[in-house]
Symmetry: C2
Subunit: 229 residues, 2 copies
DNA sequence: CGTACCATTGACGACGGTCAAAAAACGTGG
DNA sequence: CCACGTTTTTTGACCGTCGTCAATGGTACG
């Protein structure tokens, strides 16, 4: 995916010289670099990975488990910015400080790599520079989509959340949610109660099935898509 | 759309003639590069500058006037992503499609530069590559702050909007709003009526004064900041 | 001076928040 | 394996904020 972007933007040295990029080489040198250069660290449930306004010295990649990033407002309201699942990179900043705090949702394993090392690599390898930029752009698009969720009705937000999660797991019908109702609520700008009630309503509509609180089966994907307007 | 194509064609011709030789550009900022390499184009009130999902071939900088970027949902609801004022750069994508549409709010002058030219420059000048990345990161932070607005009460959103605008204009007490109440509403995820009523409430509190609908004076900045929680 | 467009104001209702309690799930140690 | 305490989730009753619909007032521009 990253390589694809690099080629399209014409940002790599290869593309700038009009040489075709071999299709067989690494799909994503940034992700590969993190795998090679990083150290795996275990975090326990609810452990803080980094805090808002802390120095952004490291970049992170989820190996196992899930992560939430969030901000807490003056009055205690919490807004969750994103959920990160295995394979996702997070905590990459263009500035020197983290804009969000990050916590492990359950027990997790996280790859950690020095940001300065990636930036040094980017200075030599144009492709890596491009992928860093691309990564931030991807995050930007994700947040922009998040905004579109926040202006909708409660039902649309919950459906939007379920579809978003469904796209990110292997089997897109059965989804296992690592986070609590409160986490979902703080992501969607709703209350826990409204999230719970709305999921109940969707089950009554037969659009979904709550196998357990954290195990959801999407039955009528088409109907859900229509609700998602 | 018709106008846009005509303008773009015109721009391409000019740019080909006026583009300085790459070697003459040494170390300079992204903004300077745009000033040097760009062509100024006038847009009339409500004219489309680019559309969502159109090819992102150009990057833009407001010279005069103001710009709104937006998306329209299936059911007609419109979400404004950002307002851009003189000096602001917009329309820079890491992918090759625009994620939002952009329109001039009033009559405007916009500097336009080929994205490929900036990317080519970035491939040679590390500093420019860094600034492109930084630019996207700045946009990311802006959108993240926007999310924090959208989870607040109507009063807090309106106050947040006013403070945000106040920070961006020379005199931070008197602010001249280029946009309509509907634009503000679509930016804040509220209705026109609620924005109007809330501004009225703030005036009754003596926190602000509505010299005219578009001319607002912030009286009690401290009180506003407290409301902004 | 008239015609759009924009802004304000009012009445009313629905959606979602708040508070409270019960039920279910989970983990821990006996 | 069960008993117990804690956390999470669900459900209910009520209420406030903000959206909807409608009418009026203001402003800019031809």
């Amino acid at each position: 995916m990253f390589t694809q972007n690099a080629i399209r933007t014409g940002f790599t040295r290869r593309a700038a010289n009009n040489l075709p990029a071999p299709a067989q080489i690494s799909v994503c040198s940034l992700s590969d670099s993190i795998n090679l250069m990083g150290a795996t660290i275990p975090y326990r449930r609810n452990a803080e990975i980094f805090g808002e306004n802390e120095s952004a010295d490291y970049v992170y990649k989820v190996v196992k488990g899930a992560v939430r990033t969030y901000k807490v407002l003056a009055d205690g309201r919490r807004q969750i910015g994103a959920f990160y699942l295995p394979g996702d990179i997070f905590g990459l900043e263009t500035d020197d400080l983290h804009t969000f705090s990050a916590e492990a949702i359950g027990d997790a394993k996280i790859l950690v790599v020095k940001r300065s090392a990636l930036i040094a690599l980017a200075a030599r390898e144009n492709e890596v520079a491009c992928e860093l930029w691309s990564m931030t752009g991807q995050e930007l698009r994700r947040v922009q989509d998040h905004i579109l969720l926040l202006i909708k009705t409660a039902k649309e937000r919950v459906v939007g959340f379920l579809l978003e999660m469904a796209e990110r797991v292997p089997s897109s019908k059965h989804i296992e949610l690592p986070m609590t109702r409160q986490d979902i609520a703080d992501y969607l700008g709703l209350t826990m109660e409204t999230v719970s009630r709305t999921l109940g309503d969707l089950e009554r509509d037969a659009s979904i099935e709550l196998a357990s609180a954290r195990q959801i089966v999407l039955h009528d994907r088409g109907a859900l898509g229509r609700l998602n307007s």
